[in-house]
């Protein structure tokens, strides 16, 4: 039997350390959510699911969950078609200044959420004045802001899937008698499909767990889950938040697993 070389051992250790570093906080949150004591400390005094019950009974979390779900779904529904159309135009029409446009579309990734949120808040106030109607603390206002989060991801993912396709396949379809729209529907769209599905997933997650951008735009009775969690934190620190976070984590994990059954996320992203 030969011993693995020191290089291999070091590499395995490095990979192990990286995974531990990434997963430890997630695992800790899940573990803490079932500790009995209110102030987090080791070892646990006992295990309980009471915090989950508490989270459920406190309406702000349930309502925040519903609001976040609504906002994330609507933002995805609006943002992904927009981003897809933009990506298609950028790749296929190659417009003059396409590079600058691409950078602009990826912009929301580069601007800190708090800054963008504040800017949007000020813009909304001004728009409210001109339009004489509420925008901040409305669902529409929140969705419009979150669409900004979905566009960079969509543009990137759909652009990648378009660039990976063999355009000769479109010509082949035309050669076989398909009209331009049929070519798009039967050949181009299926090639973009993995990118679009991955874009939906990432857009949803980005929106669902966003805190900074939403902070100033939520209003009484219309609070997203992350903001509700922050509000709770102002008054109490107990494992209720860990319980809520665990539900959030599980939802995202399930979404990713389900998506991965349709498109390989590792290959698309």
């Amino acid at each position: 039997m030969t011993l693995p070389s020191p290089g291999r051992v070091a590499f395995a250790a490095l990979v192990g350390a990286a995974f531990t570093l990434i997963l430890a906080p997630v695992v800790m949150v899940m573990v803490i959510s079932i500790f009995r004591q209110e102030i987090v400390s080791f070892p646990p005094e006992g295990l309980t699911l009471d915090w989950y019950v508490n989270a459920w009974e406190r309406q702000e979390f349930a309502r925040g969950f519903i609001t976040s779900l609504q906002v994330a779904l609507l933002a995805t529904l609006v943002g992904v078609p927009f981003g897809t159309a933009a990506a298609f135009a950028l790749v296929r029409a190659k417009p003059r200044g396409g590079g600058a446009l691409n950078t602009l579309l990826l912009g929301p990734l580069a601007v800190p959420g708090v800054v963008a949120g504040t800017a949007l808040y000020m813009f909304y106030l001004r728009a409210e004045f001109w339009l004489d109607r509420d925008i901040t603390s409305t669902l529409e206002g929140l969705v419009a802001a979150h669409v900004l989060l979905t566009i960079p991801w969509t543009v990137r993912l759909v652009t990648a899937s378009l660039q990976g396709m063999d355009q000769a396949a479109e010509e082949a379809a035309a050669n076989l008698g398909a009209r331009p729209f049929t070519v798009f529907r039967r050949v181009t769209l299926p090639a973009m499909r993995p990118g679009i599905i991955a874009a939906c997933l990432f857009s949803f997650i980005q929106s669902f767990e966003n805190l900074e951008l939403s902070l100033l735009l939520v209003g009484p009775g219309r609070t997203t889950l992350p903001v509700a969690m922050l509000n709770y934190l102002e008054f109490r620190v107990d494992p209720t938040l860990a319980a809520v976070a665990t539900v959030q984590i599980l939802l995202v994990a399930v979404l990713m697993l389900v998506t991965d059954r349709f498109v390989s996320i590792a290959r698309t992203v």
């Binding site: 000769a168 396949a169 035309a174 050669n175 076989l176 050949v187």
Partner: protein
Amino acid sequence: MGSLVLDALGKRYGASTAVERVDLDVGQGEMVALLGPSGCGKTTTLRMVAGFVPPSAGRVLIGGKDVTRTPPHARDTGMVFQSYALFPHMTVAENVAFGLEMRRVSRAERETRVREALRLVRLDALEDRLPRQLSGGQQQRVALARALVVNPAVFLLDEPLSNLDAKLRGEVRMEIRALQQRLGLTTLIVTHDQEEALTMADRLVVMERGRVRQVGTAEDLYERPADPFVAGFVGRCNLIEGRLEAQGQFRASSGALLPCAASPAPPGSCILALRPENVSITAGTDGAGRLKMITYLGPQTEYHLDLAGTPLLAIRQTPSADDPLRRLSPGDAVTISWDASAARLLPAAQPETGV
């Protein structure tokens, strides 16, 4: 009139000319190859026939009908792409059925014809596979079946063999040719590989820099090339610059006086074309010939020669073991000769116009 006619077809991109002017008449069931180095305009010509490139001059006629302005989907052509261009998300059977679906062929008939087409290319066992699960050769046969199943008026092949390995290429070449002849398909094939063109096509069109250099059968091009480019591109050829001094008397620019075929051309500068297999050598000296290098290729041997300052290549059947030629080594003096009628005079290369 042929079933595919290119009438003074040309394509310009701004100031540059991709295709100068192609006139071609492809008969029913005939296979014509567009042959030339990359960038010669052969692919652009094919794409103009398929409708992917709008011509800037001339017309394309399919079955006597002018289709110059007809969009690709309404032209009755079946094309096989260099990259095969299979639909990656469809099975083999769905790929092949696509063209029939577009033609609104009933489901039952579709199934029969797809099965028939797949049997034709010997892929009937793989109809439920996805393209990525197939080898390169199999993908290429799916592409063939997909183009053939719709019975196109014109069959177009764009470098169909360039992505296959050498051994497979020979097989598929024979297969395509056999299919084409059996089905009587009017075919245009684009290739840069002269062997491919010579073995598959009834007639060849040699193109260079957007211009047609010569159209003819393999024999025409090989034995009666119209110009030095064709002579050098189709098969190997000794091309010797010099002047015709008198009938049958060619003065190479190195100074040697070489025998050549009778020619109607007036004396003046021209090029002597001599196929290497027509050059014979014998051991022993007449003073002018010298052997520089020998390359043994099994059945044949190449002799790189020097004839009074003019480099010359001879290709001979490898001599038997007791032949005195077998004992030659580089540096030896040899006697070089050829039948004067084998040495053809070609016009000197035209001064290149900047295209």
